[in-house]
């Protein structure tokens, strides 16, 4: 090469390279854009059958939503009282064992985990017993109703009342997918839809048509299919079938529902110690929420529990439903401009205060049960006990209306406090009457509070056969459940893929 070269040659070389690289860059970005188009165009991968129960199939079309849904399997987040970890509530609050003596809840009761575990945890709880055959076991098929998108599928095949009839074990091989997509979505339009007849019927019972709900209302109502107070009506509309019913005819407040139950003479069980005709509140989450300020301002469940997220400019609904304290930024702070810490403390403050009086109610009701038990022992008659037992029933119902409701103390702190206040009042009325009655039978001293400092002591106190229940459960989990799952897998293998 020549030692000397004209400087302009170098410059020409430089600028030519610059222009070429720039043009290549433009071409590259054009290619990148075209590639991105292919990714962003929402192209359904599979066609979904009308009652497709397998969540992963839906996930092929909606990967973001599905991925966030699978995070309901997370159990690592704890808040002051709840979160998504499994908490043994009887271990935490052993007095519950006595409150529910004679009812399956006294055997096993856990703070629920995410939707992902709906089926798994139902297998494992002692409340479902250990059925050895399709007609064995303590629970009816109605118990499946809220646990799986297989439920609307089977209901569609066999009919609603037929679905509810029979023992829980008889539909074990049918109901296997945990709560998911088909429970709330129409597979063709992805619109929200109500799949559980009980909610539709509850609205009809108050003369309303649920199909006229707005989208914002639906964003709460799909949750209200399950997160509500309910009972099994054995007489109506089909004699002998445990028909899932919401007691909403006269209203959704604790007084209205109590009146509803009183009028039909309904009780869930008779208390093992006090012999009171008891009611078990299930989880009146929606009912309590509707008395709170957020509902009054038009906020839906999904606004806080499934907030919108943006990922690279794409907006989607976070399907990881859990405590909003897990993602305060996208739930609370969208409207409230306070710091995360302040907002979290605002929630905890309300929860602490309601928990404080809830604890008082619990102790008083336990005492009432124990004192009533002693009154029976000392020879009290049914006529003398009647009013006392009713007060105990009412006290525990009001307490449970709040205690069983997830997030009640935050959803509606005022309504929660009011209801617990009435519970304390009725418990004390029962105890004043009991004190007089016991005195008339010669019991003048205070009836000692039983030693129920741990779950084990409490369960021994009410005489629950825990060892046998656990042993039977282990056999059930080893033999029956794998057989169910195997049968279900064979059935689902015939569904095939609906490739477009």
């Amino acid at each position: 090469m020549k030692a000397k070269r004209k400087p302009w040659v170098n410059w020409l070389l430089f600028f030519t390279t610059l222009v070429i690289v720039f043009l290549l860059g433009l071409l590259a970005s054009s290619i990148v854009e075209r590639r991105a188009e292919a990714v962003f165009v929402n192209k359904p991968v599979v066609k979904l059958a009308d009652y497709e129960p397998r969540n992963a199939e839906w996930g092929k079309n909606f990967p973001r939503e599905f991925e966030s849904y699978t995070r309901t399997s997370d159990t690592s987040f704890s808040t002051l009282y709840n979160g998504n970890t499994m908490v043994d509530m009887l271990g935490e609050y052993p007095q519950l064992v006595v409150l529910w003596a004679g009812y399956a809840f006294s055997l096993d009761y856990n703070q629920g985990r995410g939707h992902y575990y709906a089926i798994h945890d139902m297998y494992h709880t002692l409340r479902t017993g250990a059925p050895t055959g399709p007609d064995d076991g303590p629970m009816p098929n109605t118990c499946w109703t809220c646990k799986s998108p297989d439920v609307p599928r089977v209901m569609n095949e066999v009919g609603v009342a037929a679905f509810y009839s029979g023992a829980w074990a008889s539909r074990g091989p049918e109901i296997v997918n945990p709560i998911g997509c088909a429970d709330c979505h129409d597979p063709n339009t992805m619109d929200l839809r109500i799949t559980r007849p009980a909610l539709i019927e509850a609205w009809e019972s108050t003369g309303r048509d649920i199909t006229r709900s707005t989208h914002q209302e639906m964003r709460s109502l799909v949750c209200a299919q399950c997160h509500v107070e309910y009972y099994f009506n054995k007489k109506f509309p089909v004699e002998g079938v445990n028909y899932l019913t919401f007691p909403w005819k006269d209203g959704t407040g604790p007084e209205a529902m109590l009146e509803y139950y009183d009028r039909m003479g309904f009780s869930d069980w008779t208390h093992a110690i006090s012999k009171a005709p008891m009611l078990k509140a299930q989880h009146p989450d929606y009912e309590v929420f509707t008395t709170g300020i957020h509902f009054e301002r038009g906020v839906a469940c999904a606004d806080c529990h499934m907030p919108y997220h943006s990922e690279g400019g794409q907006k989607f609904t976070n399907h990881h439903m859990t405590s909003p304290l897990m993602y305060i930024t996208s739930s609370c702070q969208v409207c409230h401009r306070e710091s995360e810490e302040t907002l979290r403390n605002n929630v905890y403050d309300r929860q602490r205060k309601v928990a404080e009086i809830r604890g008082i109610a619990e102790e008083l009701i336990v005492r009432a049960h124990v004192e009533a038990g002693l009154a029976w022992e000392l020879g009290a008659g049914q006529a003398e006990m009647e009013d006392i037992l009713y007060d105990i029933r009412v006290a525990q119902w009001y307490w449970d209306y709040v205690a069983a409701s997830h997030g009640a103390s935050f959803h509606s702190p005022v309504e929660s406090s009011r209801t617990i206040g009435k519970s304390i009042d009725h418990a004390q009325q029962a105890r004043v009457a009991l004190a007089r009655l016991l005195a008339s039978y010669g019991q003048l001293d205070e009836v000692p509070y039983p030693d129920i400092s741990t779950k084990e002591k409490a369960q021994a106190y009410i005489g629950a056969p825990m060892e046998k229940l656990k042993a039977d459960k282990a056999v059930f989990l080893e033999t029956t459940v794998p057989a169910w799952l195997e049968e279900a897998a064979r059935r689902e293998a015939t569904y095939g893929q609906f490739e477009d």
Partner: protein
């Protein structure tokens, strides 16, 4: 000494063409980066520059529906106007932070203004609305201001101004916000389509 450094950096004559081409590639890539990131737009006052990244879409959309749209742009409120150097210093500081957060995907789902930004916005409220709190004639109607304002910020009470009260990255998903547009020039698209 500089002479020595110069001798080390400048390649021997036989490598000179290669060196020139490599420098050309780097310069070309640099200009492409400037072009594709629309870097020049950040020197302007046009609010469209602020939505080059989609993160600011809710802020743009709410402003575009507010009364301030007619009189104040992003920079009128969010950049100090006390002196020329401070304006560009603050703008560069904010801009670099935003570029950093956006590039590394560190943005929170709900954006909060920082303290430095708050002070600037407050100053700018005063800059335009000064009459309301200083002019004695107007003060006849706003006399209570000095009594009530104290340490509070204007938007502690005027909470809707101008971005509304519900805000997150997803709060205005369907708003029509000017996008960055395609970096591919029309002529290139025509050629590509004809293929």
């Amino acid at each position: 000494m500089f002479r020595k450094l110069y001798e080390i950096i400048i390649p021997p004559a036989s490598w000179r063409s290669v060196a020139v081409v490599v420098t050309g590639i780097m310069a070309g890539l640099f200009f492409f980066l400037v072009y594709v990131s629309d870097a020049a737009s950040y020197l302007s006052d046009d609010p469209k520059a602020c939505v080059n990244c989609h993160i600011m879409a809710p802020e743009y959309a709410t402003w575009a529906h507010s009364s301030h749209r007619e009189v104040a742009h992003c920079n009128d409120c969010h950049v100090p106007h006390d002196n020329f150097f401070n304006t560009y210093y603050f703008k560069a500081k904010d801009g670099l932070r935003h570029a950093y957060m956006f590039t590394l995907r560190l943005e929170p789902q709900t954006i909060f203004i920082k303290d430095a930004g708050k002070r600037v916005v407050q100053q700018n409220c005063h800059r335009c609305h000064d009459e309301l709190i200083r002019n004695d004639r107007v003060m006849a109607f706003t006399a209570s201001f000095h009594q009530h304002a104290r340490e509070r910020l204007c938007w502690d009470c005027h909470r809707e101004t101008p971005h509304g009260r519900v805000q997150s990255l997803s709060s205005v998903p369907f708003a029509r916000v000017p996008g960055p547009g395609s970096p591919v020039p029309a002529w290139l698209n025509r050629i590509m389509k004809n293929k």
